[in-house]
């Protein structure tokens, strides 16, 4: 049996002087897809930031691909390069002079200094393949700031798939995608898991999509309220407990 990709033990994180995440523990099995759900302000994005080493933790341990995450967020470069992250948005105010292909190329580059004009054939091919895979090849010469919200999400996914990874962390990455794009996005995640062994952790508010695609659901409201398979966690009772009001998950008829 393969060892878990991510092990989180009693993780607590403070933000703006208050405990935003408290004593959260879970594991991500290799090639699995796990969704983090919960109301606004429940600490979902804080949890993701702490797992990536971007926020200091108050207590607890995080182990990624067999390596402990240092308290200052340090991870060895070779482990860091196996993690991909899609944030909620990019800061693109006004005209940003960066093409889609250039941006995706930055995802291919290893950490550390590099001359900007050093273009290897391997890099160019990887960028083209990644853009093709996410259906963004026709956008490669467009500026990032010219893209719609949905196109930008797909391009951010291209940034991740441009090199082999093992853990993909998505922070509400599918918000704003229309139905066909969402289906294609989900299909690509499935391919990455099955064919390349990626493990996916995503924050989502789309409970129907979570039910259809996830192996594990973490219901977070500062603490872990419940976790398990979608059938066991996304019940009306559990969701009412989590969201504090009557929430009945709606299943799209076309998906059964």
């Amino acid at each position: 049996m393969q060892s878990p990709v991510l092990v989180v033990s009693d993780l607590s994180v403070e933000r703006s002087g208050r405990l935003a995440v408290e004593k959260v523990s879970f594991e991500l099995a290799s090639e699995s897809e796990t969704a983090v759900v919960g109301p606004n302000g429940a600490g979902k994005s804080t949890l993701v930031a702490a797992l990536l080493g971007l926020l200091p933790r108050s207590a607890g341990d995080v182990e990624i691909l067999g390596r402990s995450l240092a308290s200052n967020g340090h991870l060895p470069g070779f482990i860091r390069s196996k993690i991909a992250y899609v944030p909620q948005s990019l800061s693109l105010q006004g005209r940003f002079p960066l093409t889609v292909a250039e941006f995706v190329g930055f995802g291919f580059d290893p950490p550390g200094p590099r001359w900007p004009w050093r273009q290897t054939m391997q890099r160019l091919e990887a960028v083209e393949t990644a853009l093709d895979r996410t259906g963004c090849l026709d956008l490669q010469h467009r500026l990032l700031s010219e893209l719609s919200g949905g196109q930008l999400k797909r391009v951010m996914l291209s940034f991740c798939v441009v090199r082999p990874r093992q853990l993909l962390v998505l922070d509400e990455a599918q918000a704003g995608l229309d139905v066909p794009s969402n289906e294609r996005f989900q299909q690509l995640l499935l391919e990455l898991r099955r064919e390349e062994g990626w493990t996916v952790l995503h924050v989502s508010h789309d409970l129907d999509m979570v039910r259809r695609s996830s192996d594990q659901v973490l219901c977070l409201n500062r603490r872990l309220c419940c976790s398990g398979t979608p059938d066991n966690t996304l019940t009306p009772e559990r969701l009412t407990e989590l969201y504090g009001s009557n929430v009945v998950p709606y299943r799209h008829q076309c998906h059964g």
Binding site: A49, L52, G53, L54, G73, L75, G77, R80, S81, I83, A84, Y85, P87, S89, L90, S91, L92, Q93, G94, R95, F96, P97, L98, T99, E102, F103, F106, G107, D109, P111, P113, R114, W115, P116, W117, G135, C136, D138, H141, L143, L144, S148, G149, G150, Q151, R154, V169, L177, D178, P180, S181, R184
Partner: protein, 293 residues
């Protein structure tokens, strides 16, 4: 009327040769760092640094130390403190910078009123004296330009990702805190060194205007930085020549040439955009390729 003879006469003067080279290097330096500063919304930060430099110069005069020597450490410490203030405060950055900028300017003016005699003159501090650039100044600006090009070049990926999303940059291993600080310190040193040539009031134009013009014209990041540097350098060169030939003040002449360059970039980018929008749309075959969102 300006003729070739007057141009030859001006170019033959050693002080003018130094000024032209100084302007070229300072303009290019402002363009390189400005290209990142503008994207990271640090335009007002360079302005605040420039105005606070007046306080540094005044402190130097009051304690009897050469203002140029005190300006670099003052600007670096000031930049680090302001950066800490912006990071830790819950107030908007522009409001904080305005407080810092106006307070340091007021303190500098009050301190200047205590100075009985200053050979340099307040006008020189405000608008610079590029004609007084020495060989040592040229060497310092040249070294800084080399350092800035190397730093921005090798850390381009870090600079871009840090500008786009700090969390994304951190997730791929960029040392975000280190790069943010390094850039601000470099910007502070450049502002401090360029003050002598450009002056307190006009320094931010050297950082902001060529970069904004480059931003309008370029689509690829390395070209954007190169174009900003080229525009900064060439506008400074042209502005100094205009100043020399017409006997107008040098700093404001350079800034006016930069402004004209910006207007031209604005017109050129608008015509490029309208030209592109007139091109016929490619026919879309249903079911072929992804849906454009």
């Amino acid at each position: 009327m300006v003729d070739a003879g007057s141009l030859q006469l001006i170019l033959a003067e050693p002080f003018m040769q130094r000024a032209l080279l100084g302007g070229l290097l300072t303009g290019a330096l402002g363009g390189v760092l400005g290209s990142i500063a503008v994207l990271r919304q640090l335009s007002f930060f360079s302005d605040a640094l420039g105005h606070s430099a007046l306080l540094g110069i005044t402190i130097g005069i009051l304690i009897g130390v050469n203002p140029t020597l005190i300006l670099i450490p003052f600007a670096v410490v000031f930049a680090i403190l302001v950066n800490q203030l912006v990071e830790r405060s819950s107030l908007p950055t522009d409001a904080l910078l305005n407080i810092v900028y106006s307070s340091s300017l007021a303190a500098a003016i009050l301190a200047l009123s205590l100075v009985k005699h200053y050979r340099g003159g307040i006008r020189q501090l405000l608008f610079g004296d590029i004609l007084g650039v020495s060989n040592l100044d040229l060497v310092v600006i040249g070294v800084l330009l080399t350092a800035a090009v190397i730093y921005v070049g090798v850390s381009l990926r870090a600079q871009v990702l840090l500008t786009l999303n700090e969390q994304l940059a951190g997730a791929v291993g960029v040392r975000t805190g280190w790069h943010r600080l390094a850039f601000i310190v470099l910007l502070a040193v450049v502002v401090a060194v360029s003050i002598k040539a450009v002056g307190v009031l006009l320094i931010s134009a050297f950082v902001v205007i060529p970069a904004c013009a480059g931003r309008l014209l370029c689509r690829r990041f390395p070209y954007y930085i190169s174009a900003s540097a080229a525009l900064g350098g060439s506008c400074a060169l042209l502005g100094l020549l205009v100043s020399g030939l017409t006997n107008l003040p040098s700093g404001p002449s350079v800034v006016m040439v930069q402004f004209l360059g910006f207007v031209m970039a604005l017109i050129l980018s608008s015509s490029l955009l309208s030209g592109r929008s007139r091109q016929p749309a490619r026919p879309r075959i249903p079911g072929a390729g992804p849906i454009d969102l």
